[in-house]
Structures are given as C-alpha cells and as structure tokens.
Symmetry: C2
DNA sequence: TTAATAGTGTCTCTGAGACACTATGTG
DNA sequence: CACATAGTGTCTCAGAGACACTATTAA
C-alpha cells in the first residue's frame, strides 16, 4: 500500500471542514403490540417540510452527544417514552432524503412493552403517508425484527414483566405475520432458557389460568 | 401525542444549522482469506492524528454523495479495490472517537475474494495497534460475519468464482474460528441452492480432484 | 355439566453429527 | 502399491410439527 506523491499531496490538501457538512439526526422506530398486531409509534411533524405529516420521532444529534443518547432524548421528548429496549438499526443518508438540507439519519429500533392508551400508534401493515424516507426505515426495522425474533429474545421485549406463554406466542405471531405452531413454540421457548416461571398464574382468565413467566436477566 | 406550547416554541426556535455540525465519514472493513485465516485490510495513516498507525480505509462523505458511494470511493482510492460485496455495518459516533473534531463514521463491511499478493492484510485475531475506535469496528464486522455466515451466502463472497466444497468449508472455518463438520457442511451447502456444480474439476491437486462449483446468481 | 384454554405425551419427519466405505487422483 | 482427499450410504440423535389426551378454570 504505497502512496503516490499525488495521493500524499491530495491528503495534505484535504480539509474536511472546508466541505459543507451534513447534519446528523436520529430517528427511532418504536414497535409495540396493540392487540395481536405490531404497531409503530408516529408523531405529526410540527414544521415544514411535510408539516402535519406523520413521521418517526427524531432529533438532531448534539455536538457532544452520543448517538444513543440522542435517540433516548428523542424518545423522551417527542414521545414521552423511557426505559425501553433500544438497538441501532441502520443509517440512511440519501442526499435528497430531506429537501431542506443534507441530513444523515442514524435509525434506531426500540421495543416497548406497552404504551399509554392514547399513544399515536399505527399497524405496521397499514401506515399512513409518511415524511421523508420513514416508510423505508420502518420497513427495515420490521425486517430486522422478523429476522431476529427467531433466535433472540427480542420478541419478549414487546411483553410486560409478567406474561404467559400464550402472550409470547401472540407476540411472535404479530412480528412474523403468520401463525406459529403452539407445541414447538412452547417447547423451544421453555428450553431456550430465556424465560423463568414465576410459580404464579394469571388472574381474570375466563378459562384455566396459565402460568406466568418473566424474562430471564 | 399533544404538544405543549413550550414544546412548540422550542421547535419553532430550533435551528439545526446553528449547531456545530459533525463531520460524517465512512470506514470500510475489508475481510478476505489468506491461507486458512480471515484477514482484514489496513492502511497506514498518512496524517495526524495517529499518523503512521494502522487504520481502516475511509473517507469523508461528500456533500451530495451517497454513503455507499463514499465507501466505494474509499475502497478504490485508498486500497485500489473495486467490485466487491459491500453492506452497511453500523455507525460509530462517540463524541471523542476522533481527537480533532466530531466525526461520525458509517462503517461498511466488504468481502473480497482475493487481494493482490502485497496487499497489507492482517489476521483478524492478531491485529496491530489501530487508530481511533477501528479495533471496535473490526470486532463488530467480525461478529456480524460470524452470525450471518450460518444462514446467508456471505461465506461464498470470500471465494473466487470457481471453488471446491473444500474451499468453501475452509472459508466457513476461517470465519467461525473453529472446525466445521465436513459431512453436514457439504450436505447443507448442496441442499441450500446457493451453489451450482460446473461439471469441471480442479487441476493440479495432488489427490483426487474435486468438483468445481460457483455461486448461484 | 359445557366451553375454552393450559399443559403433557408421543409419533413422525428432517437435518446435523458420526463413521464406514468406495472412488480417483499423485508419486 | 501407498497415500490423500473426494464423495456416498447409513445410523443415531435432537428439534419441529402434528395430534391425541388430560387438567383446570368460568359460567
């Protein structure tokens, strides 16, 4: 890997601060269960462009702020959500994805066990018109979730602290969009070590009450 | 999701251009096989900071440039590589990862079937001291590769156009860092539909020559 | 009692590992 | 011939699907 004199000269002249720098933002895809289907949280844009249109909660990254901290801040500020599972999804940087200026957005996937009743959530299969490339970001999040639910505990992150195996199966089915075999689902979840029985049973069921489980740390 | 007057006022005052904006860069982890071990391509930094230290090939993202295009440009310019498999890995944005200024780096994973003999590659298990957080980026790439080799054709992207099943097994073993069972590897790869036999056999083997295969489109 | 869901036991099918065996090249 | 690797056939084991069966609650 020899450098040519030209290359060295180029590097010497290279000044990244001379460029127009892009802005960097975060956008968060919050997935949650509503009934038996997967929903995503959307906010309405208060400003142009796409004012009034639905969009993912997001924020510009502060000059000394960690990317994840910006995602946490966006969740708290725009959606009043905290303490949820969060993982980095992907970065979207098409030059014209925002008509104002170049904005590169680091997208995050958040999984919320439940959201307040009035929370503005939409079924992932029936989204309204979305601002920017947010439809693509949500599609990426959904694909990530479908892929990882098979071999991680991400599905359990959609459930409250105490849940039944039936609840877990419903969560898997909501993510995958198809029915899941009850017998092998129960077996594999119980053998996976991901859940721990609490020795208690659900209340208020109109049938035989099921054992309650919790996520193993 | 009602907005408070305060929040609306904040949003109205919010001007992202008033912030110092971070610079955005790409860094590329090029993985390749050398013998039976996985190697990564490193270049030596020509400039401060960390001048002379080993680093991933990278580039600042141009003002109207796609992220992937910047990665392709970095590969071509800093390493003379083109036409390789490329996928986005993750984005690294710790505020102090570059001592000069805030640089947010979108890391990419590239898989090269082979590199010229003098190419500056290093075994992923025995890396030299690296600039910035590049050791962490490489670790992330390696982990991604280990995870995906089990259920994708990424392992085949490390091989030339024509290869034997033994070559493929060596690639899997290099990625996973452990031996893989020959019989089930052959069976699963042949049943996967990922490879197509060419009806030709390798030459110059000092034993029974093996059938040659190619990646199915 | 019936209705509904929880939970168990067992059969089959499929894929991975193990291993014996045959095939085909070089020296 | 010996030796090395390619490639086949088959046994076993483990996990998924299917399904029959029992258990336990409400109404």
């Amino acid at each position: 890997m020899q450098r040519t004199p030209d290359e060295l000269a180029f590097l010497a002249r290279y000044d990244p601060t001379a460029f127009d720098r892009p802005s960097v933002a975060v956008d968060v895809v919050v997935l949650t269960l509503r009934g038996t289907t997967l929903h995503v949280l959307l906010v309405q844009r208060a400003e142009h462009p796409d004012r009034g249109r639905h969009a993912l909660p997001g924020a510009f990254v502060g000059p000394r702020e960690e990317l994840e901290a910006a995602a946490v801040r966006a969740l708290a500020g725009k959606a009043g959500i905290s303490g949820v599972y969060l993982e980095q999804l992907a970065t979207f940087g098409a030059p014209d994805r925002d008509p104002r200026l170049r904005v590169i957005s680091v997208a995050w996937l958040a999984l919320a066990p439940s959201l307040p009743d009035g929370a503005p959530v939409w079924p992932v299969e029936e989204l309204p018109a979305l601002a920017f490339d947010h439809a693509e970001i949500i599609a990426t999040a959904h694909a990530r979730m479908r892929g990882k639910v098979e071999y991680t505990d991400l599905g359990l992150r959609l459930l409250p602290d105490r849940f039944t195996l039936r609840d877990a199966q419903r969560a898997w089915e909501a993510v995958l969009g198809r029915p899941v075999n009850k017998d092998s689902f129960r077996r594999s979840l119980l053998h996976s070590g991901l859940v721990r029985p609490l020795g208690e049973r659900e209340a208020d069921s109109q049938h035989r009450p099921a054992e309650l489980y919790t996520r193993r740390t």
